[in-house]
Amino acid sequence: DDDKIVVGFATAASGFMQAYDKPAQDAAMIKIDEINKAGGLLGKQIEVVTADTKTDRAEGAKAGLEVIDKGADLVVVSCDYDFGSPAALAAESAGKISFFLCAESIKAGIQGVGPHSFSASVLAPVQGATMAEWAYNKKNARKFYRLLDTWTEYNKGICDGFDWMLPRLKDAKLVGEDTFKNEDASIAAQITRIKSLPEQPDAIMLCSMMPGVVSAIKQIRAAGITAPILNGSGVDGSYWLSAVPDLSNFFTPVQGSIYGDDPNKDVTAFNAKYKEVTGADPSSQYVYPGYVMIDVWAKAVERAKSTDADAVVAELEKMKDEPTLFGPRSFSSEIHHQNRGRYLIVETDKGKPRVIDEWTISEAIPVDYLVSK
């Protein structure tokens, strides 16, 4: 109807995706609240409807249809591409805009859903590329080791970005590589391989995610390997650090800091707000894309002066380095995702994470490369 704008969340309120969807969704709600308090969007209040995907793909399609049925103008879908896409596809065929909460695969957008689909986060390959380039420049790393957990596309994406960046770094080389599986109870064999390398690596690119990544880090350090470990954003958060006491030499890219030391004071203010609303501190940087999403979408709606999908998409695609609380955002008719982005670098030293640097890769990862992977 005309007196309100509806945002539909087809996200997981149960099952394991809930751990990712809920925080990002809370952040989105904060932005929605802010907009409503400030008088709404196009003068109308934003109303929220939800449907539970139960972390199941078939349920996801239903949830998508359900929020569309309830009149959603924007369909927000599960963080992860695999679980979000059924609902996004439903939105696409209904001609609605869909936003993945924090999917980091190129498919979360034009390439995997269609021209009305976007993701609010930054591509996983950007994370891998960022860490490689940063470590090369700031840690003087030349010999890299690549350890890939083949469980998800996200993990592979990090390593893809790393692979793309490595040849661009003069003198840098790969001294070895290996794979494991997230559920592996023991990675003893992989560790033995690292330890029997003729020369120990300057840095280990670890492309993995929760929960297996913790186990891998723990076992690597227990074996006495002290080389710097580079990761994707998936390991952000201090909640798991207790598992590896006194972890050091450990680096993670993040869009914003949950540790109270973000260079941008507004982020710290947002963290406080988040705590006020949800009762807990943000547990990882993955809350932030939810906020960014509503932010950029609302701006596009204001500029289009309508919620008409095509008009809003057109406005979104005009965004070039649009500033947001968590770094600039760009969209184009080619890609609805970030193939380049500013990252804060968090170092964990003696079990304490803190922001030590900021890095933006020197060149955007070409769409062709991303798609071919």
Binding site: F16, F180, S196, Y239, S242
Partner: protein, 304 residues
């Protein structure tokens, strides 16, 4: 030489975990013909028993802070307790029903346990640091192997010997095997079959707890799904080892661990992701080669 030894230890340490899992599955299968799919969830339950219920990302360690001499018995008791409770509330009512029904019932029970944990702790994996210093390597014949793995290997073998002795040499073991084969007839011979089965469940629960403790020390993670994979491998090990044969189950557990480790070592990088595919192909080959399991004596085959 040391390299080979290192691989042997790597294989043994993974294998011993599987072997311990397999013992827990084989014990219940041996006594009830039940494939207990709730076993993995029992492991997860034991792990979470160390934490205070909360849906926050950060874990609130609770029992996990106890000193080892209290924590170990406590977790073993939790495993045994949950397992016995499962028997009393659920499995007891499925005596003499067909294996498929029991299996689905156990699966449903596991499902209930899993979602119960999920409600209390959320689906988020939690971190917990237990006995980190056990991760420190010790040197054996030039190979470096974390102390924890030495402990795991030794525990698995010790438990196997103790259990085998228990089942072969004591009256209880005899009664257990009898109840497994023909529940009603065993009772007609005065065997207090329910009691016997309950004890088997308690043992199996403790085995789940033992795996849970090792797993959590190794990975530092408490995850709702954490028992699942080990349970599946354990299940496979139980069958290819020879149903009802505990040494068989243990041997097969070690074998699967060894195959996986060796595959990881020898496969070229491009083929390494297919490691498990090779393992499963080996499982099929083994079954075709010895349908009754590696350790099944020929005479145990049913005659016409």
């Amino acid at each position: 030489m040391t390299e080979i030894l290192q691989v042997v230890f790597d294989a043994l340490s993974l294998g011993s975990l599987y072997a311990l899992g397999a013992l827990g599955i084989a014990l219940i299968f041996g006594v009830m013909r039940l494939v207990n799919f709730a076993h993995g969830d029992t492991m997860a339950f034991c792990v979470f028993a160390m934490l205070w219920p909360s849906v926050d990302a950060a874990a609130i360690v609770f029992a996990g802070n106890l000193p080892a001499w209290l924590l170990i018995p406590f977790i073993l008791a939790v495993g045994a307790g949950l397992s016995v409770l499962s028997e009393i509330i659920v499995f007891r009512r499925f005596r003499n029903t067909n294996p498929a029904t029991m299996m689905i019932a156990s699966f449903a029970l596991g499902f209930v346990i899993r979602y119960f944990l999920l409600m209390l702790y959320s689906s988020r994996p939690k971190s917990i640091d237990l006995w980190s210093n056990l991760g420190l390597p010790v040197e054996i014949l030039g190979a470096r192997i974390p102390l924890l793995q030495v402990i795991t290997i030794v525990t698995a073998i010790a438990i196997l010997i103790a259990l085998t002795f228990f089942l072969k040499r004591t009256r209880f073991g005899l009664e257990m095997r009898a109840a497994a084969e023909n529940f009603t007839m065993a009772r007609m011979l005065g065997v207090r079959a329910n009691r016997v089965i309950m004890l088997a469940f308690a043992l199996s629960g403790m085995l789940a707890a033992a795996v849970a403790l090792i797993l959590v020390t190794q990975t530092g993670t408490a995850d709702i799904q954490m028992g699942g994979n080990i349970m599946l491998i354990a299940f496979i090990a139980t069958v290819i080892g020879g149903l009802g044969s505990l040494p068989g189950a243990v041997f097969a557990g070690f074998l699967i661990g060894a195959i996986a480790t060796v595959m990881q070592v020898v496969l070229p990088p491009e083929a390494r992701p297919f490691r498990d595919a090779f393992v499963y192909a080996a499982v099929i080959a083994t079954l075709i080669w010895r349908p009754n399991g590696i350790f099944m004596p020929k005479s145990a085959k049913q005659r016409v």
